[in-house]
């Protein structure tokens, strides 16, 4: 199917692209300082000057959302990259070699997979402590099993196929068989689960930060903003709403991309 006939993919890329752009710009420049407090602007409602309004310290919420989105991207992308690369290698090895190695890896996977990722993340955090790096590490480890499982099942599906036997016959090396012959057939399903994983990472990070166990100040976080806003819902509902909507829109964008990618045959 061509990109033209794939509205989910187009809309998804546009939405995600816009938020990514916002997050990248937020790394270098924000409309207002995110640390400067201005008591005269306390709970200022959305206006042209402050489109998302201001918080309890009079800080511009839009600027803070920009930075929070940056953190979210950083955490989720590193998590997924870590989980995907490690998981794919483990899964491919397990699938290609088979035998006891496969058995051990997959049983371990089964156990980890049975548990909701948020619970496991909480357990990890209780060992490692909170903070940006620990969150990435904890979530990254959690994503290894799901990728390993997909990579393994793709490997099992493909390694028995005749074109792989044919590759052996024409003299392809083992590495060439895995990376040139098998990988091109597996990457669509691995990438489309990367998108699902990305969204899980976004929600898990936001949840941990909401609980105060995730990203710690001075790093910005959308989840923590919602937590802080919880006490001021009466005075400034927008304080909670905008960071929340930012999360939803980002998740929607990536879900649409994943949906679109799965429709490419």
């Amino acid at each position: 199917m061509k990109i033209k006939n794939n509205p989910s993919l187009i809309i998804g890329i546009i939405i995600t692209g816009l938020i990514l752009l916002m997050a990248i710009v937020g790394l270098f420049w924000t409309p207002y300082s995110t640390t400067q407090m201005d008591i005269s602007l306390k709970f200022a409602p959305p206006s042209f000057a402050h489109i998302f309004g201001c918080d309890n310290f009079g800080r511009d919420i839009f600027s803070r959302v920009m930075q929070g989105a940056g953190t979210t991207f950083l955490v989720s992308l590193s998590t997924i990259a870590f989980g995907m690369v490690t998981g794919t290698i483990i899964g491919f090895l397990a699938g290609y070699s088979g035998g006891w190695l496969d058995e051990v890896i997959m049983r371990a996977n089964d156990v980890i997979n049975a548990f909701p990722s948020l619970l496991l993340a909480l357990v990890f955090v209780s060992f490692l402590g909170s903070g940006l790096l620990n969150i990435i590490l904890a979530l990254g480890i959690l994503f290894i099993p799901s990728f390993a499982r997909i990579a393994r099942s793709e490997m099992l599906r493909l390694k028995g196929m005749q074109f792989v036997q044919s590759a052996v016959l024409i003299g392809d090396s083992r590495g060439r068989i895995i990376f040139s012959q098998i990988l091109p057939n597996a990457y669509i399903s691995i990438l489309s689960s990367a998108a699902v994983g990305f969204n899980n990472a976004v929600i898990a990070e936001a949840g941990l930060s909401y609980l105060g166990l995730g990203v710690q100040p001075p790093d910005a976080s959308l989840g923590r903003m919602i937590n802080e806003a919880g006490s001021f819902l009466m005075q400034a509902p927008w304080y909670a709403i905008f960071p929340g909507v930012a999360i939803i829109v980002l998740v929607l964008g990536v879900a649409l991309i994943s949906d679109g990618v799965s429709k490419i045959d």
């Binding site: 196929m161 005749q162 074109f163 036997q165 044919s166 590759a167 024409i170 003299g171 392809d172 012959q181």
Partner: protein
């Protein structure tokens, strides 16, 4: 006149293109007749039956008339047609396993027919040709009565132990039994026409014959008219009175089965018949050096046991096999499907390690042409990439690679543009040509061809065989040709050996 089809046209409309499946077909069918409809995949033969049943997918559009007992079914509403479906026209499909609902006991599935088609009292008895009265009246049957009818029908289609079978789920039955259940279901309401769409294609050879005999006896005993759709001329010859040959959505030949077989008019029909008549290759036994020697070969595979602590089972495929393939010879190896022929070829190629005995190659690395032309080409790569791969492994320069690949494409009679296409964009026959090209690409002089044509349509089979014979001559190849199809083997091979001679005694 039971059935009269007039100028029936069916087309499938997809976003990319419109394809015409049936292009203005007309024919008639008498009561009590077995009409065969033969053609290869894509000829529109299955579409005919589906149209009559209103079972075409939603992207299909159609025009024309199908008069069933004088009433045109084409303009009928879903509800009008629903009352006929299963009751007066019923159908048996190719895949009995997937055609039955996996979660419902087969008895209940057959019984559903009685619940769906309750008849009026005056439409009671009909008479079969042999004089027996058939009760077509099943209004308000009690539960016990319904079950009794189903068991009777199970007996009629020769299902063993009807009472037990009634309670079985589809997956608990063999393919042949599943198909008998499908037939029982189709006959439950004593239909006028039974459409059998490739009813035996998915079954083993000896089961195929049993099912075909059953269809014949149903026709004789009950007078049910049967429309038998098949790609296999042998099936048609065995069962049908009359036949229609379809090619690309049109009828190219029609008549009684004897007529068609003895005096075929159309060239396409002739080629179909030629393909199934035993024709032997004229060849002198070839003397000289051997390309491959196999001595005392026993091939087995080890089946891991499910239970812990149980010894793994050793499954022996052949024992003490000894033969050689001379240079420039095509040796045929014949064996039933499922007899483990592929394991032998894979052992010879070094892909299967569980064997004893000696395998001596007197040529460079042998290559293989696989049966499933689609599965043996990497779906993520273009034809050009695939064909260059053996040359890359030999470190051939890029420009030289391109030249050699183009040369090979010419040899296997494929246009150069195909180098830029993916395997899925090619037809089955074209893919098999690419496979042949790939096998020859590394310059090997010894080829193992494992059922290279059995997945192809008959007319394409012929072309691939011609190509193989031509290449063998031009390039002076030696070949081990493995097949279950004696006719094909005798047509292409210089010498034939049989798997059965080396079967282990069990």
């Amino acid at each position: 006149m039971l059935l009269k089809v007039e100028d029936l046209k069916v087309q499938y409309n997809t976003a990319e293109k419109t394809s015409y499946a049936v292009k203005g077909v007309s024919f008639e069918m008498e009561r009590g007749e077995i009409l065969g409809i033969v053609g290869e995949s894509g000829s529109g033969k299955s579409t005919l039956g589906l149209t009559m049943m209103g079972l075409l997918p939603s992207h299909a559009s159609y025009s024309g008339h199908v008069y069933f007992q004088g009433r045109d079914v084409i303009p009928m509403s879903f509800e009008e047609l629903r009352q006929i479906k299963g009751d007066e026209i019923s159908v048996v499909f190719q895949e009995p396993m997937t055609s039955l609902n996996p979660l419902i006991k087969v008895g209940k599935q057959v019984e559903e027919m009685l619940l769906l088609h309750l008849k009026d009292k005056d439409d009671a008895m009909t008479e079969a040709p042999d004089g027996t009265k058939l009760n077509r009246h099943h209004e308000k049957l009690s539960k016990e009565e319904r079950k009794k009818r189903v068991l009777e029908m199970f007996e009629a289609v020769e299902l063993p132990k009807p009472e037990e079978t009634y309670k079985k789920y589809p997956h608990e039955l063999s393919g042949g039994m599943q198909q008998r259940v499908m037939i029982a279901m189709a006959l439950m309401c004593e239909p006028e026409i039974l459409i059998a769409d490739e009813p035996t294609t998915a079954l083993d050879a000896d089961i195929q014959d049993q099912i075909l005999d059953l269809l014949k006896s149903i026709n004789a005993k009950r007078g049910t008219s049967i429309m038998l759709v098949s790609h296999d001329l042998r099936v048609i010859r065995r069962v049908c009175h009359k036949a229609i040959v379809m090619y690309k959505g049109e009828i190219v030949e029609r008549g009684t089965v004897e007529d068609i077989f003895e005096h075929p008019q159309d060239p396409y029909t002739k080629s179909l018949i030629a393909a199934i008549t035993d024709e032997k290759k004229n060849s002198n036994p070839i003397e000289g050096e051997a390309a491959l020697e196999v001595k005392d070969l026993s091939v087995y595979y080890v089946k891991k046991s499910e239970k812990l602590g149980e010894k793994p089972k050793k499954n022996v495929i052949c024992k003490g096999m000894t033969f050689d393939v001379k240079k420039g010879e095509i040796l045929g190896l014949v064996g039933k499907s499922g007899s483990g022929k592929s394991s032998i070829s894979r052992a010879i190629l070094g892909l299967h390690k569980d064997y004893t005995g000696e395998i001596i190659h007197h040529t460079d690395k042998p290559q293989m042409i696989f049966q499933d032309s689609a599965a043996s080409l990497n779906p993520a790569r273009k034809i050009g990439w695939i064909l260059e791969e053996p040359l890359k492994n030999k470190k051939v320069e890029p420009a030289e690679r391109k030249r050699l690949v183009k040369e090979m494409m010419e040899r296997v009679e494929l246009p150069e543009e195909f180098l830029d296409r993916y395997p899925r964009q090619l037809s089955g026959g074209q893919k098999q040509r690419v496979n042949i090209a790939l096998a020859l690409m590394s310059g090997s002089k010894f080829i193992i061809a494992d059922e290279p044509v059995s997945a192809l349509d008959v007319s394409i089979q012929e072309q691939i065989i011609e190509l193989l014979l031509k290449l063998q001559k031009d390039l002076d190849l030696s070949m081990l040709f493995i097949s279950h199809d004696r006719a094909v083997v005798e047509r292409i091979c210089d010498r034939v050996i049989h798997m059965e001679d080396w079967k282990p005694v069990s």
